[in-house]
Symmetry: C2
Subunit: 355 residues, 2 copies
């Protein structure tokens, strides 16, 4: 009998969710490479850090806006790939640094973006799981993600290691690398401890969402990345029309769409954005929405039907490494409850090969 | 009898949709102010153009990324208001220009962003309907939107005049202002001619969507702004969970959620992004989705159940001024079919006063 048995539906996804603390430890083994890249960035003093990637990588880039904005105080943006690669805009990149985020290192338009940016004078850095990929070859500096092979189509450990990579690089650029390396290590320990509890605790919330076909995910500041990543997991693995908003934008318009059939999942962490998230949740409750709360301050959220708190990390900026976990586990439980295999969503493949 | 009669549901929204060609003409009366601002920008040669605004204003900023990227070849970004206003990031703004987009000129965190940016050395420009507003007072340069009073809560003529303002300013910064002023004038004429036809033609598509509760809106390049603005109209006025994606991002993940109950509205215009939009539509069709096509190339879209073409403008970059119109009219028809008043969505007010 030489053929391998098929894994049970969702088995790959679950094992990669569980592997995240280990993946973060593996990334930290490359701290020297991150320190050297941070120092190269500091010498360059870029006017703009341009982050490019698709899907989960682009969601991680939303976190990078805050990591670079709050640590070295630099402008980091999710740059438009299509503007230069397809529409041919000729933009001066000589003062820029490019961070290309790609699990596989094979996404064609990300590779093309990096080749063009390097030819136009940008300092190019590839952050990838495959350090011998074409993306790694095309960039000046390569930073290993070290997440290990990711077999489930929907990314999990790639996303959390990308967050850690962005935090560590931004911290080294700000001269705070050692504190952040320690902080990521401690956060990985906290994640390892909370994951087994969360696996059980998400079941009730996931069951309540079995027949939902739309949902809003709200977060703020660094946790907007979490809201985006969770919404993408629900779209890909559960076929739920999940849409992420910052708490401010949610209250400005989309709240008008909320009713008892439109649940709201709020990522509630302990930072200056908290009052605005609480206000958005109160408005959603007033419109009759069921609210699910996760994040470091989920326990204190009045009016939430389900609360999935995670522990406080040693540095507030690292909260998103923990707060995505209940969302990942809920997406898995929900996909299985809906008879879907979260390891292999219909119509998706692992690498964005289409332009 | 001194009390005014209540307007019929959707009457304000419709009259403001119809007023858009006139609003564009009014904006062009301020071409001198746009030329002077474009020249001031050119002298400053900003490293980054930072656009800030909420809701429809932020959607217009998505268009600004392309207007500035393709005309003067500058990096324009939708900047994070919260990063500096709430999280206190200390970012060097001395080489930046700020474009603050606000219909009312009273949005508190936009005003605060501008005050901080001006104090930190940025060239600040307010684009607003109220040139005596607090926002106008806080910026160095004021550009009138000249849309006239907007009474419906959901923005229409504010959005289209913001697109025109961004195109005109970017064109003047690039030394192409005269051609774009002529182009906007001709586009306003085309819009005036096509609106009456569209009012009738949207009815069939809107009827088909009466019981839909989720929808994807896809566009690409400059038309991604159109997809975002249309999705926001559906959320606010029809309570539909509408989510915008670029055609590339749609094919990378969310397409997995599509089925026969999940319609896709595609904005299909004639530019280099067209093949990727066609590919995304083909994938949506293969998953069983009903497709509605609008835009300058809607007529040629095989497999669309409903086609709402608009005429070609004289300059391709001006297509979004036309292609949003079928979406606005469909949102109105659909809200009425669902028994909702698009003039006054539940729980919304005209000005984003909450932070």
């Amino acid at each position: 009998m030489s053929s391998q048995p098929e894994p049970a539906p969702g088995a790959l996804f679950l094992s990669e969710i569980r592997e995240q603390p280990l993946a973060l430890e593996r990334l930290l083994a490359y701290e020297d490479a991150y320190r050297a890249a941070g120092e190269a960035l500091r010498r360059r003093a870029p006017t703009v850090v341009r982050m490019v990637g698709h899907g989960s990588s682009d969601n991680a880039a939303s976190y990078g806006v805050y990591a670079f904005g709050l640590l070295p105080g630099w402008t980091a943006m999710r740059d438009s790939i299509s503007l230069s690669v397809y529409y041919g805009a000729r933009i001066d990149l000589s003062g820029s640094c490019v961070l290309a985020l790609s699990q596989s290192g094979r996404t064609p338009d990300v590779v093309e973006y990096v080749e063009r940016a390097r030819a136009h004078g940008a300092l190019t850095i590839a952050v990838t799981n495959d350090v011998s990929s074409v993306l790694a070859e095309s960039a000046e500096i390569v930073l290993p993600l070290a997440a290990g092979d990711e077999l489930a189509v929907a990314a999990t450990k790639t996303y959390t290691t990308q967050l850690a990579a962005l935090a560590l690089l931004a911290a080294h650029a700000a001269g705070e690398g050692a504190a952040y390396a320690d902080g990521i290590r401690a956060t990985a320990d906290l994640l390892a401890r909370v994951l087994p509890q969360l696996e059980g605790r998400v079941a009730e919330a996931a069951r309540a969402l079995t027949f939902v076909d739309r949902l809003f995910a709200i977060g703020r500041g660094p946790e907007f990345a979490t809201a985006r990543e969770f919404a993408l997991k629900l779209l890909e693995t559960c076929r739920i029309g999940a849409e992420p908003f910052t708490a401010t934008d949610f209250s400005h318009g989309p709240v008008a769409a909320v009713d008892a059939l439109f649940p709201v999942w709020a990522f509630v962490s302990d930072d200056v954005g908290l009052p605005i998230v609480l206000e958005a949740v109160a408005r959603a409750r007033a419109a009759g929405a069921t609210v699910i709360a996760s994040g470091t301050r989920a326990s204190s959220l009045h009016g939430a039907a389900y609360r999935l708190p995670v522990p406080e990390p040693p540095l507030a900026l690292l909260s998103p490494l923990l707060s995505i976990a209940p969302g990942q586990l809920a997406a898995r439980a929900l996909a299985l409850a809906r008879g879907l295999d979260p390891d292999r969503p219909d119509g998706l493949s692992k690498v964005t090969l289409a332009p």
